[in-house]
Protein backbone atom coordinates (compact mmCIF):
# COMPACT_ATOMS: atom_id res chain seq x y z
CA UNK A 1 0.00 0.00 0.00
CA UNK A 2 1.47 3.31 -1.03
CA UNK A 3 -1.14 5.89 -0.30
CA UNK A 4 0.90 8.40 1.62
CA UNK A 5 3.89 8.62 -0.64
CA UNK A 6 4.33 12.35 -0.27
CA UNK A 7 7.79 12.00 -1.74
CA UNK A 8 10.92 13.23 -0.24
CA UNK A 9 10.28 16.92 -0.40
CA UNK A 10 13.51 18.75 -0.95
CA UNK A 11 16.25 16.23 -0.75
CA UNK A 12 18.76 17.76 1.53
CA UNK A 13 21.85 17.05 -0.47
CA UNK A 14 20.40 18.35 -3.64
CA UNK A 15 19.04 21.51 -2.17
CA UNK A 16 22.28 22.56 -0.61
CA UNK A 17 24.23 21.86 -3.75
CA UNK A 18 21.80 23.33 -6.21
CA UNK A 19 23.44 26.31 -7.80
CA UNK A 20 20.33 27.85 -9.20
CA UNK A 21 18.99 28.24 -5.72
CA UNK A 22 21.82 29.80 -3.83
CA UNK A 23 19.61 31.58 -1.35
CA UNK A 24 18.43 28.25 -0.08
CA UNK A 25 18.13 28.15 3.64
CA UNK A 26 21.22 26.38 4.81
CA UNK A 27 23.27 27.10 1.74
CA UNK A 28 26.55 28.85 2.26
CA UNK A 29 29.29 29.88 -0.10
CA UNK A 30 32.74 28.79 0.74
CA UNK A 31 34.94 31.80 0.93
CA UNK A 32 38.62 32.15 1.59
CA UNK A 33 40.16 34.79 3.78
CA UNK A 34 42.71 36.27 1.42
CA UNK A 35 44.15 38.82 3.81
CA UNK A 36 43.76 40.16 7.30
CA UNK A 37 44.65 43.68 8.37
CA UNK A 38 44.79 44.73 11.94
CA UNK A 39 43.10 48.11 12.21
CA UNK A 40 43.07 48.60 15.96
CA UNK A 41 43.50 46.43 19.03
CA UNK A 42 40.05 44.94 18.58
CA UNK A 43 39.12 45.43 14.94
CA UNK A 44 40.45 43.61 11.95
CA UNK A 45 39.64 44.01 8.29
CA UNK A 46 39.18 40.75 6.43
CA UNK A 47 39.30 40.41 2.69
CA UNK A 48 37.18 37.47 1.81
CA UNK A 49 36.83 35.94 -1.60
CA UNK A 50 34.15 33.50 -2.61
CA UNK A 51 36.07 30.48 -3.77
CA UNK A 52 33.97 29.48 -6.77
CA UNK A 53 34.61 31.87 -9.66
CA UNK A 54 31.10 31.82 -11.07
CA UNK A 55 29.50 32.28 -7.70
CA UNK A 56 31.88 35.09 -6.94
CA UNK A 57 30.92 36.90 -10.07
CA UNK A 58 27.21 36.40 -9.52
CA UNK A 59 27.32 37.57 -5.95
CA UNK A 60 25.60 40.93 -6.05
CA UNK A 61 24.74 43.09 -3.09
CA UNK A 62 23.61 46.59 -2.36
CA UNK A 63 25.27 49.01 0.04
CA UNK A 64 24.04 48.46 3.60
CA UNK A 65 23.35 44.79 3.20
CA UNK A 66 25.07 42.21 5.35
CA UNK A 67 26.22 38.63 5.11
CA UNK A 68 26.13 35.84 7.65
CA UNK A 69 29.64 34.63 8.24
CA UNK A 70 30.07 31.15 9.59
CA UNK A 71 32.99 29.38 11.19
CA UNK A 72 32.00 25.71 11.32
CA UNK A 73 31.53 24.57 14.87
CA UNK A 74 32.24 28.00 16.27
CA UNK A 75 29.33 30.19 15.30
CA UNK A 76 27.63 32.36 12.75
CA UNK A 77 26.94 36.05 12.86
CA UNK A 78 25.82 39.00 10.74
CA UNK A 79 28.41 41.40 9.40
CA UNK A 80 27.90 44.42 7.22
CA UNK A 81 29.63 44.31 3.89
CA UNK A 82 32.16 47.06 3.99
CA UNK A 83 33.39 46.98 0.43
CA UNK A 84 32.22 48.32 -2.86
CA UNK A 85 29.25 46.58 -4.50
CA UNK A 86 31.15 46.71 -7.78
CA UNK A 87 33.58 44.17 -6.41
CA UNK A 88 30.94 41.44 -6.18
CA UNK A 89 32.13 38.41 -4.24
CA UNK A 90 35.42 39.96 -3.22
CA UNK A 91 34.23 41.24 0.10
CA UNK A 92 35.68 43.25 2.91
CA UNK A 93 34.36 42.78 6.40
CA UNK A 94 35.51 44.73 9.37
CA UNK A 95 34.98 42.84 12.58
CA UNK A 96 35.35 43.80 16.19
CA UNK A 97 36.35 40.94 18.48
CA UNK A 98 33.68 40.94 21.16
CA UNK A 99 32.59 37.40 21.75
CA UNK A 100 32.78 33.80 20.84
CA UNK A 101 32.70 33.95 17.07
CA UNK A 102 34.53 37.21 16.61
CA UNK A 103 37.31 36.31 19.02
CA UNK A 104 37.89 33.08 17.21
CA UNK A 105 37.82 34.86 13.90
CA UNK A 106 40.51 37.22 15.13
CA UNK A 107 42.79 34.19 15.60
CA UNK A 108 42.43 32.62 12.18
CA UNK A 109 45.04 33.21 9.53
CA UNK A 110 44.70 34.05 5.87
CA UNK A 111 43.89 31.07 3.77
CA UNK A 112 41.19 29.86 6.12
CA UNK A 113 37.94 28.88 4.47
CA UNK A 114 34.80 30.30 6.03
CA UNK A 115 31.12 30.07 5.09
CA UNK A 116 29.25 33.07 3.78
CA UNK A 117 25.54 33.35 3.14
CA UNK A 118 23.56 36.27 1.92
CA UNK A 119 23.47 39.03 1.04
CA UNK A 120 20.62 39.85 3.37
CA UNK A 121 18.58 42.82 4.35
CA UNK A 122 17.68 46.21 3.04
CA UNK A 123 20.08 48.79 1.72
CA UNK A 124 20.73 52.51 1.50
CA UNK A 125 19.00 54.07 -1.53
CA UNK A 126 22.15 55.45 -3.10
CA UNK A 127 20.49 56.09 -6.48
CA UNK A 128 17.75 58.11 -4.88
CA UNK A 129 20.42 60.20 -3.16
CA UNK A 130 22.02 61.29 -6.40
CA UNK A 131 22.11 65.03 -7.01
CA UNK A 132 21.77 65.70 -3.31
CA UNK A 133 23.98 66.51 -0.37
CA UNK A 134 24.91 63.42 1.59
CA UNK A 135 25.60 63.35 5.31
CA UNK A 136 27.26 60.19 6.56
CA UNK A 137 27.24 60.14 10.35
CA UNK A 138 29.02 57.35 12.15
CA UNK A 139 29.88 56.54 15.74
CA UNK A 140 32.48 53.91 16.50
CA UNK A 141 31.97 50.71 14.56
CA UNK A 142 29.15 52.47 12.70
CA UNK A 143 31.69 53.53 10.11
CA UNK A 144 31.80 49.94 8.86
CA UNK A 145 28.37 49.74 7.16
CA UNK A 146 28.87 53.29 5.87
CA UNK A 147 31.80 52.26 3.76
CA UNK A 148 29.73 50.49 1.15
CA UNK A 149 27.56 53.56 0.34
CA UNK A 150 30.67 55.67 0.57
CA UNK A 151 32.31 53.57 -2.13
CA UNK A 152 29.24 54.09 -4.31
CA UNK A 153 29.63 57.80 -3.84
CA UNK A 154 33.34 57.72 -4.55
CA UNK A 155 32.90 55.70 -7.70
CA UNK A 156 30.26 58.13 -8.97
CA UNK A 157 31.45 61.28 -7.25
CA UNK A 158 30.08 63.67 -9.88
CA UNK A 159 26.54 62.51 -9.27
CA UNK A 160 26.48 63.77 -5.70
CA UNK A 161 26.68 67.26 -4.35
CA UNK A 162 28.36 67.99 -1.06
CA UNK A 163 29.37 64.88 0.85
CA UNK A 164 30.20 64.98 4.55
CA UNK A 165 31.43 62.27 6.82
CA UNK A 166 31.00 63.03 10.48
CA UNK A 167 32.76 60.40 12.48
CA UNK A 168 32.99 60.10 16.24
CA UNK A 169 35.45 57.71 17.86
CA UNK A 170 36.09 57.04 21.52
CA UNK A 171 39.76 57.87 21.22
CA UNK A 172 42.27 58.29 18.39
CA UNK A 173 43.57 54.75 18.73
CA UNK A 174 40.11 53.39 17.98
CA UNK A 175 39.71 55.26 14.69
CA UNK A 176 39.11 52.90 11.79
CA UNK A 177 40.32 53.08 8.20
CA UNK A 178 42.79 55.91 8.94
CA UNK A 179 44.76 54.89 5.86
CA UNK A 180 41.89 55.91 3.63
CA UNK A 181 41.16 59.39 4.99
CA UNK A 182 43.59 60.96 2.59
CA UNK A 183 41.94 59.28 -0.35
CA UNK A 184 38.45 60.28 0.75
CA UNK A 185 39.50 63.89 1.04
CA UNK A 186 41.01 63.75 -2.43
CA UNK A 187 37.56 62.94 -3.67
CA UNK A 188 36.34 66.20 -2.22
CA UNK A 189 34.71 64.69 0.80
CA UNK A 190 34.45 66.64 4.00
CA UNK A 191 35.76 64.42 6.74
CA UNK A 192 35.23 65.66 10.27
CA UNK A 193 36.44 63.50 13.12
CA UNK A 194 35.83 64.05 16.77
CA UNK A 195 37.01 61.93 19.69
CA UNK A 196 35.68 61.49 23.20
CA UNK A 197 39.12 61.44 24.68
CA UNK A 198 42.24 62.86 23.11
CA UNK A 199 45.71 61.45 23.48
CA UNK A 200 49.10 63.11 23.06
CA UNK A 201 49.04 62.91 19.27
CA UNK A 202 45.52 64.18 18.77
CA UNK A 203 45.13 67.67 17.36
CA UNK A 204 41.51 67.63 16.28
CA UNK A 205 38.35 68.40 18.20
CA UNK A 206 37.33 66.60 21.40
CA UNK A 207 33.71 66.08 22.42
CA UNK A 208 30.47 64.62 21.20
CA UNK A 209 29.58 63.95 17.62
CA UNK A 210 26.57 66.25 17.96
CA UNK A 211 28.89 69.25 18.25
CA UNK A 212 30.32 68.66 14.81
CA UNK A 213 26.88 68.04 13.44
CA UNK A 214 25.63 71.27 14.98
CA UNK A 215 28.31 73.18 13.11
CA UNK A 216 27.48 71.47 9.86
CA UNK A 217 23.80 72.26 10.26
CA UNK A 218 24.61 75.84 11.08
CA UNK A 219 26.55 76.28 7.87
CA UNK A 220 23.47 74.99 6.08
CA UNK A 221 21.50 77.78 7.68
CA UNK A 222 19.86 75.41 10.17
CA UNK A 223 17.74 74.04 7.39
CA UNK A 224 18.42 70.71 5.73
CA UNK A 225 14.99 70.39 4.23
CA UNK A 226 16.09 70.79 0.67
CA UNK A 227 18.17 68.24 -1.05
CA UNK A 228 19.93 66.41 1.79
CA UNK A 229 20.09 62.77 2.77
CA UNK A 230 21.56 61.48 5.99
CA UNK A 231 22.78 58.03 6.95
CA UNK A 232 23.32 57.40 10.65
CA UNK A 233 25.12 54.41 12.11
CA UNK A 234 26.38 53.90 15.60
CA UNK A 235 25.55 52.78 19.11
CA UNK A 236 21.87 53.03 20.13
CA UNK A 237 22.45 56.06 22.38
CA UNK A 238 23.76 58.06 19.47
CA UNK A 239 20.66 57.61 17.30
CA UNK A 240 18.36 59.64 19.50
CA UNK A 241 20.52 62.71 19.72
CA UNK A 242 21.67 62.76 16.15
CA UNK A 243 18.31 62.06 14.61
CA UNK A 244 16.57 64.59 16.81
CA UNK A 245 19.00 67.26 15.64
CA UNK A 246 18.42 66.33 12.03
CA UNK A 247 14.68 66.50 12.43
CA UNK A 248 14.96 69.86 14.16
CA UNK A 249 16.93 70.98 11.15
CA UNK A 250 13.83 70.00 9.16
CA UNK A 251 15.36 67.05 7.40
CA UNK A 252 12.40 64.85 6.41
CA UNK A 253 12.27 61.57 8.26
CA UNK A 254 12.15 59.56 5.05
CA UNK A 255 15.55 61.00 4.16
CA UNK A 256 17.23 59.84 7.35
CA UNK A 257 18.46 56.26 7.24
CA UNK A 258 19.74 54.23 10.12
CA UNK A 259 21.17 50.75 10.38
CA UNK A 260 19.96 48.84 13.45
CA UNK A 261 21.70 46.11 15.34
CA UNK A 262 19.92 43.13 16.78
CA UNK A 263 20.81 39.59 17.65
CA UNK A 264 20.41 37.44 14.55
CA UNK A 265 20.64 33.73 14.19
CA UNK A 266 19.29 33.06 10.72
CA UNK A 267 19.27 36.31 8.79
CA UNK A 268 16.31 34.88 6.95
CA UNK A 269 13.32 36.08 8.91
CA UNK A 270 12.76 32.87 10.81
CA UNK A 271 14.48 32.79 14.15
CA UNK A 272 12.66 35.86 15.37
CA UNK A 273 15.58 37.07 17.41
CA UNK A 274 15.94 40.35 15.57
CA UNK A 275 12.25 41.13 15.73
CA UNK A 276 10.98 44.48 16.81
CA UNK A 277 7.26 43.87 17.09
CA UNK A 278 6.91 41.66 14.06
CA UNK A 279 9.42 43.58 12.01
CA UNK A 280 12.40 41.45 11.20
CA UNK A 281 15.53 43.53 11.29
CA UNK A 282 17.10 41.05 8.92
CA UNK A 283 14.36 41.28 6.29
CA UNK A 284 12.88 44.77 6.68
CA UNK A 285 16.20 46.08 7.96
CA UNK A 286 18.90 46.55 9.02
CA UNK A 287 18.45 49.78 7.05
CA UNK A 288 15.33 51.67 8.02
CA UNK A 289 14.23 55.18 7.40
CA UNK A 290 13.65 57.11 10.57
CA UNK A 291 9.90 57.20 10.12
CA UNK A 292 9.76 53.41 10.35
CA UNK A 293 11.98 53.47 13.39
CA UNK A 294 9.65 55.83 15.20
CA UNK A 295 6.82 53.43 14.44
CA UNK A 296 8.52 50.54 16.16
CA UNK A 297 8.50 50.32 19.91
CA UNK A 298 11.88 49.95 21.56
CA UNK A 299 13.67 50.07 18.22
CA UNK A 300 16.50 52.22 19.49
Amino acid sequence: MKRLDFVDVLSADRSSARESDLNNFEYSYKAEITSVYRLTDTEKLYQIRIVDKVQRHHFAFRPGQFVMLELPGIGEGPFSISSSPSRHGDLELCVRAVGNLTNFLSRVARGTVVGISGPFGTSFPVEEMENSDVLLIAGGLGIVPLRAPLFCVLENRSRYNQVDIIYGARNPSEMLFTYQYQMWRQFDINLEIIVDQADATWQGPVGLITEVLKKRIKTAGNDLSSNTYAIVCGPPVMFHFVCDMLINARLPMQKIFVSLERRMHCGRGKCCRCNIGATYTCLSGPVFDYWSVLNMKEAI
Binding site: M1, R3, L4, D5, F6, D8, V9, L10, A12, D13, S15, S16, N23, N24, F25, E26, S28, P72, G73, I74, G75, E76, G77, V98, G99, T102, G111, T112, V113, G115, P236, E261, R262, R263, H265, C266, R268, G269, K270, C271, C272, R273, N275, I276, G277, A278, T279, L283, K297, E298
Partner: protein
Protein backbone atom coordinates in the same frame (compact mmCIF):
# COMPACT_ATOMS: atom_id res chain seq x y z
CA UNK B 1 -15.58 20.33 0.14
CA UNK B 2 -16.96 16.81 0.13
CA UNK B 3 -18.90 15.42 3.07
CA UNK B 4 -19.35 11.78 3.99
CA UNK B 5 -20.34 9.77 7.01
CA UNK B 6 -19.12 6.45 8.29
CA UNK B 7 -20.26 4.34 11.22
CA UNK B 8 -18.65 4.84 14.60
CA UNK B 9 -17.00 1.43 14.63
CA UNK B 10 -15.31 2.03 11.28
CA UNK B 11 -12.90 4.38 13.00
CA UNK B 12 -10.71 1.44 13.82
CA UNK B 13 -10.54 0.54 10.12
CA UNK B 14 -9.31 4.04 9.43
CA UNK B 15 -6.71 3.59 12.13
CA UNK B 16 -5.63 0.25 10.72
CA UNK B 17 -5.24 1.66 7.23
CA UNK B 18 -2.97 4.38 8.55
CA UNK B 19 -1.19 2.40 11.23
CA UNK B 20 1.75 1.38 8.99
CA UNK B 21 2.90 5.02 9.10
CA UNK B 22 4.37 6.83 12.06
CA UNK B 23 1.11 7.90 13.64
CA UNK B 24 0.83 10.69 16.16
CA UNK B 25 -2.25 11.26 18.22
CA UNK B 26 -3.60 12.25 21.62
CA UNK B 27 -3.05 9.79 24.43
CA UNK B 28 -3.30 9.81 28.22
CA UNK B 29 0.08 10.09 29.92
CA UNK B 30 -0.61 10.34 33.62
CA UNK B 31 -3.11 11.76 36.07
CA UNK B 32 -3.24 15.19 37.58
CA UNK B 33 -3.88 16.07 41.22
CA UNK B 34 -7.61 15.69 40.69
CA UNK B 35 -7.04 12.28 39.18
CA UNK B 36 -8.02 13.44 35.72
CA UNK B 37 -6.15 12.16 32.69
CA UNK B 38 -3.40 14.33 31.30
CA UNK B 39 -3.14 14.20 27.53
CA UNK B 40 -0.20 14.61 25.22
CA UNK B 41 0.47 14.08 21.53
CA UNK B 42 2.80 11.20 20.95
CA UNK B 43 3.38 8.22 18.71
CA UNK B 44 0.46 5.82 18.95
CA UNK B 45 1.09 2.10 18.97
CA UNK B 46 -2.40 0.70 19.22
CA UNK B 47 -5.93 1.84 18.53
CA UNK B 48 -6.72 1.64 22.24
CA UNK B 49 -4.07 4.28 22.98
CA UNK B 50 -5.73 6.79 20.68
CA UNK B 51 -8.10 8.94 22.73
CA UNK B 52 -10.15 11.25 20.55
CA UNK B 53 -12.20 12.35 23.57
CA UNK B 54 -9.32 14.46 24.87
CA UNK B 55 -9.94 17.99 26.18
CA UNK B 56 -6.64 19.61 25.11
CA UNK B 57 -3.11 18.37 25.27
CA UNK B 58 -0.50 20.07 27.42
CA UNK B 59 1.81 20.49 24.48
CA UNK B 60 0.89 21.03 20.88
CA UNK B 61 2.11 18.96 17.93
CA UNK B 62 4.74 21.59 17.34
CA UNK B 63 7.52 19.30 18.46
CA UNK B 64 7.03 17.09 15.42
CA UNK B 65 7.55 20.03 13.06
CA UNK B 66 9.81 22.23 15.09
CA UNK B 67 11.58 19.95 17.52
CA UNK B 68 12.94 21.74 20.56
CA UNK B 69 16.38 20.78 19.28
CA UNK B 70 17.13 20.11 15.65
CA UNK B 71 20.40 19.70 13.82
CA UNK B 72 20.57 22.08 10.89
CA UNK B 73 23.78 20.77 9.50
CA UNK B 74 26.94 18.94 10.31
CA UNK B 75 30.48 19.69 9.27
CA UNK B 76 33.40 17.45 8.56
CA UNK B 77 36.64 19.28 9.04
CA UNK B 78 39.94 18.25 7.55
CA UNK B 79 43.23 20.02 7.00
CA UNK B 80 41.99 23.58 6.91
CA UNK B 81 38.97 22.76 4.74
CA UNK B 82 35.51 21.52 5.59
CA UNK B 83 32.39 20.04 4.08
CA UNK B 84 28.84 20.85 5.12
CA UNK B 85 26.00 18.35 5.20
CA UNK B 86 22.36 19.23 5.53
CA UNK B 87 19.60 16.84 6.49
CA UNK B 88 15.98 17.87 6.90
CA UNK B 89 15.32 15.06 9.33
CA UNK B 90 12.22 13.60 7.74
CA UNK B 91 12.18 10.19 6.16
CA UNK B 92 8.54 9.12 6.16
CA UNK B 93 5.17 10.81 5.94
CA UNK B 94 3.58 11.20 9.35
CA UNK B 95 -0.08 10.80 10.18
CA UNK B 96 -1.51 13.22 12.71
CA UNK B 97 -4.70 11.66 13.95
CA UNK B 98 -6.87 13.96 16.02
CA UNK B 99 -5.92 17.61 15.80
CA UNK B 100 -8.42 20.15 17.08
CA UNK B 101 -9.30 23.13 14.90
CA UNK B 102 -7.09 25.46 16.92
CA UNK B 103 -4.08 23.22 16.37
CA UNK B 104 -4.63 23.06 12.63
CA UNK B 105 -5.09 26.81 12.55
CA UNK B 106 -1.85 27.16 14.44
CA UNK B 107 -0.06 25.20 11.73
CA UNK B 108 -1.61 27.44 9.12
CA UNK B 109 -0.23 30.45 10.92
CA UNK B 110 3.22 28.91 11.21
CA UNK B 111 3.05 28.20 7.48
CA UNK B 112 2.75 31.90 6.78
CA UNK B 113 6.14 32.56 8.30
CA UNK B 114 7.99 29.34 7.73
CA UNK B 115 6.95 28.18 4.30
CA UNK B 116 7.31 31.40 2.47
CA UNK B 117 7.56 33.64 0.66
CA UNK B 118 11.16 34.61 1.43
CA UNK B 119 13.62 31.93 2.44
CA UNK B 120 11.16 29.11 3.21
CA UNK B 121 12.49 27.03 6.06
CA UNK B 122 13.09 23.62 4.46
CA UNK B 123 13.29 21.81 7.80
CA UNK B 124 9.78 22.86 8.66
CA UNK B 125 8.40 22.77 5.13
CA UNK B 126 9.57 19.26 4.42
CA UNK B 127 7.86 17.97 7.53
CA UNK B 128 4.77 20.01 6.93
CA UNK B 129 4.43 18.68 3.40
CA UNK B 130 4.79 15.17 4.68
CA UNK B 131 1.89 15.40 7.08
CA UNK B 132 -1.43 13.69 6.70
CA UNK B 133 -3.82 15.42 9.06
CA UNK B 134 -7.06 14.14 10.48
CA UNK B 135 -8.82 16.84 12.41
CA UNK B 136 -11.48 16.22 15.06
CA UNK B 137 -13.94 18.55 16.66
CA UNK B 138 -13.44 19.48 20.28
CA UNK B 139 -15.35 20.15 23.45
CA UNK B 140 -14.61 23.69 24.53
CA UNK B 141 -12.79 23.94 27.84
CA UNK B 142 -13.20 26.73 30.33
CA UNK B 143 -9.92 28.32 29.26
CA UNK B 144 -10.32 28.13 25.47
CA UNK B 145 -10.80 31.49 23.77
CA UNK B 146 -10.21 30.31 20.23
CA UNK B 147 -13.55 31.73 19.21
CA UNK B 148 -12.32 35.23 20.00
CA UNK B 149 -9.24 34.53 17.90
CA UNK B 150 -11.30 33.20 15.00
CA UNK B 151 -9.63 29.82 15.35
CA UNK B 152 -12.58 27.72 16.51
CA UNK B 153 -13.27 26.41 13.05
CA UNK B 154 -10.84 25.50 10.34
CA UNK B 155 -11.19 25.55 6.57
CA UNK B 156 -7.83 24.44 5.30
CA UNK B 157 -4.59 22.85 6.28
CA UNK B 158 -5.92 19.32 6.90
CA UNK B 159 -6.81 16.23 4.87
CA UNK B 160 -9.98 15.18 6.59
CA UNK B 161 -11.94 16.40 9.55
CA UNK B 162 -14.14 14.27 11.79
CA UNK B 163 -17.12 15.23 13.88
CA UNK B 164 -18.68 12.64 16.15
CA UNK B 165 -22.42 12.54 15.50
CA UNK B 166 -23.00 9.86 18.12
CA UNK B 167 -23.40 6.66 16.14
CA UNK B 168 -21.39 7.85 13.18
CA UNK B 169 -18.63 10.18 12.15
CA UNK B 170 -19.26 13.12 9.87
CA UNK B 171 -16.22 13.66 7.62
CA UNK B 172 -15.12 16.75 5.75
CA UNK B 173 -12.74 15.70 3.02
CA UNK B 174 -10.16 18.11 1.75
CA UNK B 175 -7.65 16.05 -0.15
CA UNK B 176 -7.69 13.34 -2.77
CA UNK B 177 -5.45 11.21 -0.60
CA UNK B 178 -8.00 11.41 2.16
CA UNK B 179 -10.79 10.43 -0.18
CA UNK B 180 -8.75 7.57 -1.47
CA UNK B 181 -8.20 6.28 2.02
CA UNK B 182 -11.83 6.67 2.99
CA UNK B 183 -12.94 4.44 0.14
CA UNK B 184 -11.70 1.55 2.25
CA UNK B 185 -14.29 2.38 4.89
CA UNK B 186 -18.05 1.86 4.61
CA UNK B 187 -18.71 5.50 3.79
CA UNK B 188 -22.03 6.98 2.75
CA UNK B 189 -23.39 10.35 1.79
CA UNK B 190 -24.76 12.18 4.81
CA UNK B 191 -28.54 12.19 5.03
CA UNK B 192 -30.68 15.22 5.68
CA UNK B 193 -30.89 14.09 9.30
CA UNK B 194 -27.11 13.95 9.47
CA UNK B 195 -26.92 17.53 8.25
CA UNK B 196 -29.37 18.61 10.95
CA UNK B 197 -27.52 16.71 13.63
CA UNK B 198 -24.22 18.27 12.55
CA UNK B 199 -25.59 21.79 12.63
CA UNK B 200 -27.22 21.22 16.01
CA UNK B 201 -23.99 19.92 17.41
CA UNK B 202 -22.12 22.94 16.12
CA UNK B 203 -24.66 25.25 17.70
CA UNK B 204 -24.30 23.46 20.98
CA UNK B 205 -20.54 23.61 20.78
CA UNK B 206 -20.69 27.32 20.03
CA UNK B 207 -22.71 27.91 23.16
CA UNK B 208 -20.07 26.19 25.23
CA UNK B 209 -17.32 28.71 24.57
CA UNK B 210 -17.27 30.61 27.82
CA UNK B 211 -13.88 32.28 27.84
CA UNK B 212 -13.57 35.40 25.75
CA UNK B 213 -11.07 38.02 24.78
CA UNK B 214 -12.06 41.37 23.42
CA UNK B 215 -9.55 41.86 20.66
CA UNK B 216 -11.25 44.76 18.94
CA UNK B 217 -8.82 47.59 18.26
CA UNK B 218 -6.21 45.61 20.11
CA UNK B 219 -3.28 46.71 17.96
CA UNK B 220 -4.01 50.34 18.73
CA UNK B 221 -4.67 49.74 22.37
CA UNK B 222 -1.42 47.88 22.77
CA UNK B 223 0.42 50.79 21.21
CA UNK B 224 -1.37 53.28 23.40
CA UNK B 225 -0.74 51.32 26.54
CA UNK B 226 2.90 50.65 25.89
CA UNK B 227 3.87 52.38 29.13
CA UNK B 228 0.96 51.00 31.14
CA UNK B 229 1.79 50.00 34.73
CA UNK B 230 0.00 46.67 34.27
CA UNK B 231 3.03 45.38 32.40
CA UNK B 232 5.14 45.96 35.48
CA UNK B 233 2.70 43.96 37.59
CA UNK B 234 2.59 41.05 35.17
CA UNK B 235 6.33 41.20 34.78
CA UNK B 236 6.84 40.95 38.52
CA UNK B 237 4.97 37.68 38.45
CA UNK B 238 6.62 36.23 35.38
CA UNK B 239 9.37 33.72 36.09
CA UNK B 240 10.97 34.27 32.66
CA UNK B 241 10.94 30.52 32.23
CA UNK B 242 9.68 30.23 28.68
CA UNK B 243 7.09 27.54 29.44
CA UNK B 244 4.42 29.55 27.66
CA UNK B 245 6.41 29.60 24.45
CA UNK B 246 7.33 25.94 24.75
CA UNK B 247 3.72 24.80 24.89
CA UNK B 248 2.42 27.40 22.44
CA UNK B 249 1.54 25.98 19.03
CA UNK B 250 2.40 29.22 17.29
CA UNK B 251 5.65 30.27 18.92
CA UNK B 252 8.58 29.50 16.67
CA UNK B 253 11.59 31.62 17.54
CA UNK B 254 14.88 29.90 18.01
CA UNK B 255 18.55 30.21 18.78
CA UNK B 256 21.47 28.49 17.14
CA UNK B 257 24.35 26.78 18.87
CA UNK B 258 27.33 25.07 17.35
CA UNK B 259 29.05 22.10 18.88
CA UNK B 260 32.42 20.62 18.09
CA UNK B 261 32.89 16.93 18.76
CA UNK B 262 35.54 15.77 21.17
CA UNK B 263 37.79 14.60 18.35
CA UNK B 264 37.68 18.07 16.76
CA UNK B 265 36.92 16.71 13.31
CA UNK B 266 33.15 17.04 13.20
CA UNK B 267 30.84 19.83 14.24
CA UNK B 268 27.12 20.32 14.42
CA UNK B 269 24.94 23.35 14.10
CA UNK B 270 21.81 22.96 16.14
CA UNK B 271 18.80 25.11 16.53
CA UNK B 272 17.02 25.28 19.83
CA UNK B 273 13.59 26.73 20.20
CA UNK B 274 13.80 29.79 22.35
CA UNK B 275 11.39 32.11 24.04
CA UNK B 276 11.24 35.87 24.03
CA UNK B 277 10.61 35.69 27.78
CA UNK B 278 14.07 34.31 28.44
CA UNK B 279 16.44 36.83 29.90
CA UNK B 280 19.04 36.83 27.15
CA UNK B 281 16.66 36.79 24.21
CA UNK B 282 17.45 40.30 23.07
CA UNK B 283 20.99 40.50 24.30
CA UNK B 284 23.59 41.47 21.72
CA UNK B 285 27.34 41.14 21.72
CA UNK B 286 29.02 43.20 24.36
CA UNK B 287 26.21 42.61 26.82
CA UNK B 288 23.67 45.23 25.80
CA UNK B 289 20.18 43.89 26.36
CA UNK B 290 17.31 45.49 24.51
CA UNK B 291 14.80 43.94 26.92
CA UNK B 292 16.60 43.46 30.21
CA UNK B 293 13.64 43.13 32.57
CA UNK B 294 10.78 40.68 32.65
CA UNK B 295 8.00 43.27 32.15
CA UNK B 296 9.51 44.38 28.86
CA UNK B 297 9.94 40.80 27.70
CA UNK B 298 6.45 39.73 28.66
CA UNK B 299 5.08 42.79 26.94
CA UNK B 300 7.08 41.97 23.87
CA UNK B 301 5.46 38.55 23.62
CA UNK B 302 2.05 40.17 23.47
CA UNK B 303 3.26 42.79 21.05
CA UNK B 304 4.60 40.27 18.67
CA UNK B 305 1.51 38.10 18.78
CA UNK B 306 -1.28 40.60 18.90
CA UNK B 307 0.15 43.68 17.28
CA UNK B 308 3.16 42.98 15.08
CA UNK B 309 1.87 39.80 13.52
CA UNK B 310 -1.55 41.33 13.08
CA UNK B 311 0.04 44.16 11.19
CA UNK B 312 2.01 41.84 8.95
CA UNK B 313 -0.58 39.15 8.27
CA UNK B 314 -3.88 40.64 9.36
CA UNK B 315 -4.35 38.05 12.04
CA UNK B 316 -2.95 37.46 15.49
CA UNK B 317 -0.24 34.93 16.15
CA UNK B 318 -2.44 33.18 18.69
CA UNK B 319 -5.20 30.65 18.25
CA UNK B 320 -6.62 30.97 21.73
CA UNK B 321 -5.88 27.43 22.77
CA UNK B 322 -5.07 28.69 26.27
CA UNK B 323 -2.15 26.34 26.71
CA UNK B 324 0.20 29.10 27.78
CA UNK B 325 -2.09 30.12 30.59
CA UNK B 326 -2.50 26.53 31.67
CA UNK B 327 1.24 25.99 31.67
CA UNK B 328 2.09 29.21 33.42
CA UNK B 329 2.77 28.61 37.08
CA UNK B 330 2.32 32.30 37.75
CA UNK B 331 -1.19 32.18 36.29
CA UNK B 332 -0.55 34.63 33.51
CA UNK B 333 -3.23 34.00 30.90
CA UNK B 334 -3.88 35.76 27.63
CA UNK B 335 -7.47 36.76 28.47
CA UNK B 336 -6.40 38.24 31.80
CA UNK B 337 -3.48 40.14 30.36
CA UNK B 338 -5.40 41.61 27.46
CA UNK B 339 -8.29 42.45 29.69
CA UNK B 340 -6.00 44.17 32.17
CA UNK B 341 -4.40 46.26 29.46
CA UNK B 342 -7.87 47.43 28.48
CA UNK B 343 -9.08 48.05 32.00
CA UNK B 344 -5.77 48.92 33.69
CA UNK B 345 -6.38 46.39 36.43
CA UNK B 346 -4.50 43.19 37.06
CA UNK B 347 -6.47 40.38 38.71
CA UNK B 348 -4.83 39.08 41.86
Amino acid sequence: MLFKVFPENALEILYDVLAPYPLVGPQAKGKDREDKDIFVFDYINSFAELRLDFPTTIHSVKKFLLPSRENLCTFNLFDGDWEKYVDFNIYKPHVFFGLHPCDINALNKLDKVLTGPVYPDPFYSSKRKNMFIIGVNCNPQSWCFCKSMGADTVYSGFDMFLTDLGDKYFVEILSATAYDILTQLPIADPSEADHRRFIELMDERNRNFVCQVDSSDLTKILDLEFQSPVWQEWGDRCMSCGSCASVCPTCYCYGVKEYVDLDLTTATKQRQLYSCNLIDFAMVAGGHNFRPDSPSRLKYRYYHKHRGFQEAYEEALCVGCGRCGQACLADITVPDVIDSVRRQKVPK
